[in-house]
């Protein structure tokens, strides 16, 4: 009994210590977290050791001064973790392998990043790591390394990935970046409208983004001749964002649509 109690206590201490290391890392105290994870690893169970190695590798990505050698050390740790299991740590490690290829190397390797993301999606499609990877994979489709490609084809390829989005937060992110790419490439704004409407319906937007999306839906609705929809979204915007700088301009737009301006427009 005593041994069991001691074991449970020590496990609790180990868990608390791991949590403290992650907390330190959430505040970017990389040195402190690294020391903690290294200490944990010495006494950890196999599962605890994997968590500690994952923590070490993640911390290496922000320990200053950040050197290419340090990133390479992190990459090796992630590779070992990703190739030696299918657990959450392995998935997280594969996601980070994609991120290293995408943003950490002196010369980015988008093909390698896409390969890691696609593998994660194929093997663990619904996991949070795969869903996060999906939002980065869409960017690689939308903005290929070779800028000579046709924008419409890039958007079409990215739209196909929507089928892989299993969580509302992922769906929302994907619709937003698709609408934004359509605007950026100067494709017909009407093509962005379904994405904006879908993003709004998913109710995942933070307040500043929601304000933008409501205005965007209304503005594009005017362009496609859907005045009823435009009015509805202008009015929703005015009701939800009484202090937004665009209030006067939206009031003018509503006047332009006819049918009067809602009370309280302008201050």
């Amino acid at each position: 009994m005593l041994a069991l109690g001691a074991g449970l206590m020590l496990a609790r201490v180990a868990r608390a210590s791991t949590e403290e290391n992650w907390r330190a890392l959430s505040l970017l105290k990389a040195d402190e977290a690294l020391r903690g994870f290294e200490a944990d690893r010495a006494t950890a169970t196999p599962a605890g050791a994997r968590e500690a190695d994952f923590g070490r590798a993640v911390a290496l990505l922000v320990r200053q001064p950040l050197t290419p050698e340090q990133v390479e050390e992190a990459r090796k740790l992630f590779t070992a973790l990703a190739d030696s299991g299918t657990d959450d740590v392995a998935q997280g490690a594969r996601y980070f392998l994609g991120r290293i290829a995408q943003h950490h190397l002196e010369q980015a390797d988008p093909a390698e990043a896409a390969r890691q993301y696609r593998r994660l999606l194929a093997e663990h499609g619904a996991s949070i790591w795969a869903q996060t990877a999906l939002t980065r994979l869409v960017l690689l489709e939308l903005y290929p390394a070779d800028p000579a490609g046709a924008p419409a084809a890039s958007v079409a390829a990215a739209e196909k990935l929507l089928a892989e989005a299993r969580r509302p937060v992922t769906q929302s992110e994907l619709h937003l970046v698709l609408a934004d790419a359509i605007f950026y490439y100067g494709l017909p704004p009407a093509e962005a409208l379904p994405h904006l409407l879908a993003a709004e319906e998913l109710r995942q937007l933070d307040p500043p983004t929601r304000a933008d999306v409501l205005v965007q839906i209304a503005e594009v609705s005017v362009l496609v001749g859907n005045r009823v929809q435009a009015r509805r979204f202008y009015e929703t915007f005015l009701a939800e964002f009484p202090l937004d700088q665009r209030r006067f301009m939206v009031g003018q737009k509503l006047k332009g649509l006819g049918g009067g301006t809602p009370p309280g427009v302008g201050r």
Binding site: L2, A6, M9, L10, R12, V13, A16, T18, E19, E20, W22, L25, S26, L27, L28, V58, A59, L61, V62, G92, R99, H103, H104, I128, Q131, T135, R136, L139, L142, Y143, R167, V169, E173, L174, L176, V177, D180, A181, F183, Y184, G186, P189, D206, P207, P208, T209, D212, V215, Q216, E219, V220, L223, L243, D244, Q245, R246, R247, F248, M249, R267
Partner: protein, 531 residues
């Protein structure tokens, strides 16, 4: 037998050690000593310092266990001082900083604590007020959506704000009466120009050194932002590619890179023409003058008006030996014979944007207490105390401005395309280049064309620097988000947000990189065509 006893002793010791570790992890040391929270700022204007002191003293009454120490560091050395303190780990718990000084993407993840979770909860100090139960962020007049409140790149709320400002022309009412026989300031741009001519004639007649406007390098910055933005409002829809009725940093920057706008764009050039008139109505050498020196000039009666922000209003009220009035610079309207055809309509004072933000230092030894003070400072009671003493405009809903500060309330019923102005262009480097070269517009030999030529010759050097810094900072922010969001995910297990930067922001990174590569190609082609 002996071995068994040793085993039991080891087990008991192990149990005791584990129990002690658990206890240590779950109990914070509790002391009876008073906690000291240090806050640093640079606000030496009028009674602003006293305003902050008044809030601190009230908080100490409510919390005798906490002492609030306020450190005032002069503005001209503040940034360097703050950096040194942050790097050395000796910075105060609460730090005033503004993203207008740049590099917030680099500073924030390293040194400041995001407070997104906290601002989603009600501010307990608003109990018994109309803001009871309202999420803290929604108690701010701008919903904390200003650039310091909500950092779009980091997708985090950071700094609660305590005030709001507008740019105004303050005037010597006694002198105005003497010159024009009237009390009222000009109501239109043409009236302003007529007043300038009257001042010049008066000065010549009396042999006095008198300027229409006392200006400074600092305040011309704040004047140029709304002026160029307002004058450009007729053109702005052409840059609004995402149909949000607001120009984002990227629309402004990528538009510049693509050549969609420049300082020769007719509407922007009109803004420069009005800015030139303002500069020519100002005292010679103002482009080198700091705002404190300019205020002294005004107080000594060397000018009829002072170009300044409402932040200086209480200083003027306290120091001026004459009656001071204030008015909004009347920009040309749609009826103006010269600029009218390119004006959309009335121009607003800008976004509802609150300011004077305080960031929570990541290295604070007492983050809970520091955050609690911030809650009080930005409660209805706290902000009212501050506003009453400082004479600044409030940042919090249901806080009343004083009778004196009421006159500086912003004018919102006009066109406004967001916080990004043509003046700021692509960022800090371009802003500094504008300020460095704006002298080319002023004086008898100055012209808008001379300024435009210089911008055309060298502007891209500075815009490239801005955008390269932006790409670098973005990569740092993405990496930081990956790491901190993963760490939070490991601790909390929440899956309602993805452990990464918003994909929309990463999309902007790719768009910027593409446009920069294209701009380089275009320049090379142009160079080859005209070596």
């Amino acid at each position: 037998m002996k071995l068994k006893q040793v085993g039991i002793v080891v087990l008991v010791l192990g149990y005791a050690a584990a129990a002690w570790l658990v206890w240590r992890h779950s109990h914070r040391a509790t002391g009876t000593e008073r906690v000291t929270i240090r806050l640093c700022h640079w606000q030496l204007e009028g009674t602003v310092r006293e305003g902050l002191v008044a809030v601190a003293r009230r908080y100490e009454q409510l919390h005798p266990e906490v002492k609030i120490e306020l450190l005032v560091v002069p503005e001209n050395i503040y940034r360097q001082w703050m950096r040194t303190q942050l790097v050395g780990g000796t910075a105060p718990d609460l730090i005033e900083y503004t993203m207008y000084w740049g590099r917030i993407e680099e500073l924030a993840p390293r040194y400041f604590t995001p407070i997104s979770r906290e601002v989603a909860e009600p501010n307990p100090y608003n109990r018994g007020t109309p803001l009871e139960g309202v999420p803290w962020r929604d108690t701010f007049l701008d919903g904390m959506t200003g650039p310091d409140g909500y950092n779009t790149l980091m997708r985090e709320y950071y700094a609660p704000t305590i005030a709001m400002f507008t740019m105004r022309l303050f005037y010597n009412r006694t002198l105005l009466r003497e010159i024009t026989g009237r009390d009222e300031p000009p109501a239109t741009w043409r009236e302003f120009l007529a007043l300038r001519d009257a001042v010049n004639a008066y000065a010549k007649r009396d042999g006095r050194m008198l300027s229409t406007v006392i200006n400074s390098r600092d305040n011309s910055w704040w004047l140029a932002i709304p002026l160029l933005h307002g004058m450009g409002s007729h053109f702005s829809p052409q840059l609004d590619h995402d149909h949000s009725l607001s120009l984002s940093y990227w629309e402004m920057s990528l538009g510049w890179l693509r050549g969609e706008w420049s300082f020769r764009t007719p509407e922007v050039a009109n803004g420069l023409a009005v800015f030139r008139e303002m500069g020519n109505a100002s005292q010679p050498g103002f482009v080198q003058m700091r705002r404190d020196a300019a205020m002294l000039d005004f107080l000594r009666g060397h000018g009829l008006m002072l170009c300044a922000g409402s932040w200086d209003a209480s200083s003027l009220r306290r120091e001026a030996p004459f009656e001071v009035g204030a008015f909004r610079l009347p920009l040309p309207d749609a009826k103006d014979p010269e600029f009218g055809p390119m004006m959309l309509g009335p121009v607003s004072d800008g976004s509802v944007q609150t300011s004077t933000p305080f960031y929570l230092n990541k290295a604070s030894a007492h983050p809970a207490e520091a955050l609690d003070f911030l809650r009080f400072l930005t409660s209805v009671e706290g902000d009212q105390i501050f506003v009453d003493v400082s004479q600044w405009l409030p940042a919090i809903k249901h806080v009343r401005p004083t009778d004196f500060s009421q006159r500086f309330m912003p004018f919102y019923d006009g066109y406004n395309w967001g916080p990004n102005s043509y003046f700021n262009g692509t960022g800090t480097e371009m802003t500094m280049f504008f300020l460095q070269e704006m002298h080319r517009m002023f004086g008898p030999n100055g012209s808008v064309a001379a300024f435009q030529d210089e911008m055309e010759r060298h502007g891209s050097v500075y815009s490239d620097r801005d955008l390269q810094a932006h790409l670098r900072d973005s990569r740092v922010a993405f990496n930081t988000d990956d790491v901190t969001d993963t760490a939070r995910l490991r601790v909390s297990g929440e899956t309602d947000r993805l452990p990464a930067s918003p994909a929309l922001l990463e999309a902007k990174y790719y768009q910027t990189a593409r446009e920069m590569a294209r701009a380089v190609q275009r320049r090379q082609a142009a160079q080859e065509a005209h070596p």
